[in-house]
């Protein structure tokens, strides 16, 4: 099922367009790659193109698993804790645990500053 969704992206002409319907900006990807470490020197022109599709697949998978968490909680709004639950439950997302965990621990430390916030959900 997910495979079919991924393949349909190939037929939309997003490859050669600057930002096709399923692509992400290549210049931004290159900046993030360059900032990932001092050792990164040169980047082939095709590497950001691979990443634009890979990030598409990554966002799709993370969104799908997070949505499963949301519906298990009988909710129809995707929240940050749904993403955290999906990360914890999926082995290949282990590298993200510190990212979501740091936010959690920081939140605990800042509990005394909590104010009531109403979220506007766009749809």
């Amino acid at each position: 099922m997910r495979q079919a969704g991924a393949y349909s992206g190939l037929l939309c002409g997003g490859v050669s367009g600057r930002t096709g319907p399923h692509s992400l900006p290549l210049a931004r990807i290159k900046k993030i790659m360059k900032n990932s470490g001092e050792g990164v020197k040169m980047i082939s022109g095709e590497a950001p193109i691979i990443f634009s599709k890979a990030c598409d697949l990554f966002i799709e998978e993370l969104t799908r698993r997070s949505w499963i968490m949301a519906i298990q909680g009988k909710r129809r709004t995707l929240h940050k804790e749904d993403l955290a639950s999906a990360v914890i439950a999926t082995d290949i997302f282990d590298f993200l645990i510190t990212l979501v965990s740091n936010s959690d621990s920081h939140a605990v430390g800042g509990a005394t500053n909590v104010m009531e916030v109403e979220t506007i959900d766009y749809s």
Partner: protein
């Protein structure tokens, strides 16, 4: 929590409010500016923020939120909503994913004494780090892309492994291969060199224009 006609939340649970507010006020302001800026530049190209240095730096660290949300909407049912904190978190996850894979690909390059991270290095790193399911669609995507750049006949249909060898040869000889004359990946609209040497991070932070809008970049490289 009771089932029924209730249509989702208007107010976040307290714990989520705490999570959201744990971010400093400055970060929240920066994030909001980025969201607004991304909306204005939706579907065009990377926004060149002129407001201030912080905004530019913030925008350089994440994918545009509008693009990310559009991809999420493909997966979610029509009635689903996405909270602001989920949008911010997934932006951070995408950047972390790119850095994670790039770091592994770069280590491989260094072990093999190569200076350029190639598409094959990225695919290898993904497979090594557990994203095996992505390899097949990405390989097809890459083949499709190369077909669309049809003038590079010397590489058309060649297996990926052979192309890696060519890069190794290039690294050794420092001589550009014959196909170097056709290094425009998107024709005139988006010229990109086959090998692009980027400015160092310090200079990059004050470098406000983007590669997409550049004129054809010079191919001369200094080692």
């Amino acid at each position: 929590m009771e089932t029924g006609g209730f249509h989702g939340y208007r107010k976040l649970p307290n714990t989520t409010s705490g999570l959201k507010l744990s971010v400093s006020d400055m970060n929240m302001n920066m994030r909001q500016q980025q969201v607004a800026s991304s909306d204005q530049n939706c579907s065009n190209h990377s926004a060149a923020g002129e407001e201030n240095e912080c905004t530019v730096r913030e925008q350089d660290r994440f994918m545009p939120i509008a693009n990310v949300i559009r991809i999420m909407r493909k997966i979610l049912p029509p009635h689903a909503k996405i909270s602001d904190d989920a949008k911010e978190t997934i932006q951070e996850c995408v950047s972390e994913y790119i850095s994670f894979i790039t770091g592994e690909a770069n280590e491989r390059c260094q072990r093999e004494q190569r200076k350029t991270i190639t598409a094959e290095d990225v695919l290898w790193a993904m497979s090594k780090l557990g994203f095996d399911d992505y390899i097949e669609p990405l390989t097809m995507y890459l083949h499709r892309y190369r077909e669309l750049e049809g003038d590079r006949t010397s590489m058309r249909g060649e297996p990926l492994g052979k192309r890696t060898v060519e890069y190794a040869t290039l690294a050794t000889a420092f001589v550009p291969p014959p196909f170097h004359h056709h290094n425009g990946y998107f024709g005139a609209a988006m010229p990109m060199g086959t090998y692009v040497r980027e400015t160092p991070p310090n200079a990059a932070s004050s470098h406000h224009h983007h590669g997409i809008s550049n004129a054809h970049e010079p191919n001369a490289r200094s080692i």
